[in-house]
Subunit: 324 residues, 2 copies
């Protein structure tokens, strides 16, 4: 069994060996830039871990893990442009550093390149991998569309919010693991279990993201907190607050959410006060641990020695209890 650190290194080495610096350089520079942003590489590492869990050949999973990372970076590049987000991982996003056209075109090319790696799968599993990959990418587009739609809606239900992050974020976590399982020729049942494990961890991951944005410790978190409130994002915290509050508090939330007259710090303080009164931090944490537990139940159902599941369990816990 490989550890997270070993898989991180394996994946980074594999990524480093690819040559994306081609011509025209204007097209490939943003691709190299985007792929060099060192995140946690959770999704490709999930692919490798799932493959390893079912005793598959890690070498065969590397191209597929890379395809997953390219897909992820493609969605980030386009989403950052659509959302007008200037910063990611502490660096300028592609449309800011270059221009919108570069973000569109380099994003397109990233996604095309992903299929070159998908294509390296053994022929017998190629259709399954390709179909999983496509479905996930299409659902990510649908999720992004819902997210954009939410900007123009006054009220978003909790169920609508969960559906949006399921499509936009969680299914990719699930698919990353599922593709690893397919490469290792896991049984249909086990492949489905690990897919659902991933979806649940993905949902928990996104809720934790929302939580840290307000309740993170700025020194550990490394970013200012409360940005989602400043940007009027309908996160889990806000959606949950709206679902929990009495009619009067609901009106207050809506008033201050849509009226932008408050100074930033005051607005954050104001929302925080209401959220605290409604116990939103605890309620969100409960939801996060619910997803973690549901995910772990799915992992339990997988038919393989318990000790092989330990690295995935650890990673799930790390993701859920992360401080940044």
């Amino acid at each position: 069994m490989y550890t997270y650190e070993e898989l991180y290194k394996l994946f980074s080495n594999h990524l480093g060996k690819q040559s994306f610096s081609k011509n025209p350089k204007e097209l490939y520079e943003p691709i190299v830039y985007s792929l060099s942003q060192c995140g946690k590489r959770l999704r490709p590492i999930f692919t490798l871990m799932a493959c390893d869990l079912f005793e598959g050949n890690i070498q065969k999973a590397l191209p597929q893990a890379l395809a997953i990372e390219l897909l992820h970076n493609f969605t980030l590049m386009h989403d950052d442009l659509m959302d007008q987000s200037p910063i990611r991982h502490g660096k300028e996003t592609v449309f800011k550093k270059w221009n919108p056209n570069m973000a569109i075109l380099a994003g397109d090319a990233l996604y095309v390149l992903a299929y070159d790696y998908i294509l390296q799968a053994d022929l017998e599993i190629l259709p399954d991998i390709l179909s999983t990959f496509n479905k996930t990418a299409l659902k990510a587009c649908e999720g992004q569309q819902l997210d954009l739609n939410f900007e123009n809606r006054k009220i978003v239900s909790l169920a609508d919010y969960i559906e949006m992050i399921r499509l936009k974020t969680a299914l990719l976590f699930g698919a990353s693991l599922k593709i690893g399982a397919l490469i290792a020729r896991a049984s249909t049942e086990d492949t489905q279990h690990i897919y659902e494990f991933g979806i649940n961890i993905g949902l928990g991951f996104q809720l934790k993201d929302d939580l840290l944005d307000l309740y993170g410790n700025e020194k550990v978190f490394g970013k200012k907190t409360g940005l989602d409130i400043i940007e009027n994002k309908k996160t889990y915290l806000f959606t949950k607050a709206m679902a929990t509050a009495d009619p009067e508090t609901k009106e207050l939330l809506l008033d201050y959410f849509h009226g932008k007259e408050l100074p930033e710090k005051e607005k954050i303080r104001y929302f925080r006060k209401i959220f605290d009164k409604l116990d939103i931090e605890k309620l969100t944490n409960d939801a996060i641990y619910n997803y973690l537990n549901t995910g772990l139940e799915k992992l339990d159902m997988i038919d393989c020695p318990e000790e092989r599941k330990q690295t995935l369990k650890n990673l799930a816990h790390t993701i859920i209890s992360r401080k940044k």
Copy 2:
């Protein structure tokens, strides 16, 4: 053998049977809109014709033809946004009718959907089709990047221009035919011949596009002529003129190209006068017919009865001698 009209009908019926009207509707409406623009459907019909030439099963070529059409529409949707082109086929382009985000996201979804149709290929030919499709899409991105780069360059050589349209336009013509040949299990040699036939017809197609923009008969052409000159596009006409002109005329061309002080009609008249003096219409027509003839030579080399090649020959001639 099917005629162009029969294949057009077959393809339109197949396209009509697909249901792209899904939720969220904001994502799928631009897709339905884009696919309903009735162009000549040259690329998917090329796929069907190539399959028919080699006595393949047209039914099996329909999904692949659709994938080609989706890829084509995806590139149009993104290119129109990048080029800020407000009109296509006499209708507003997606970014104009909706907004830039919709053009990005619906374009992405179109491209993802294309792979669902690619996936329907017989397993034994899936890798070849997938690899041809990917390569073509990546080269189209590279071509679009070169096209964007040209906007910022004072001088573009004829060779650079041809390379750009080869990547951006001609390779897709080639790939459309190649994929049809792959479905019909044509020999490697014949598949290569029809690919090159397509590339040459694609180059001729684009040069004819450039030619009609200035020398088209407005009544037949259905659009105003001279738009490329107004928009300072470095077309084949301009590039050829720059390659042919004496140093003095070259300077004049560059001055009027980059100085925008002339009224539109006068600017067109001015360029037309220089182009006429340099015999650009004839030189462009010569180049177009050179590509046609090179293409037809490739078609001649294909090992199948001459009479089976007639519909492809006719279509090539129609494309090259079109008036709009």
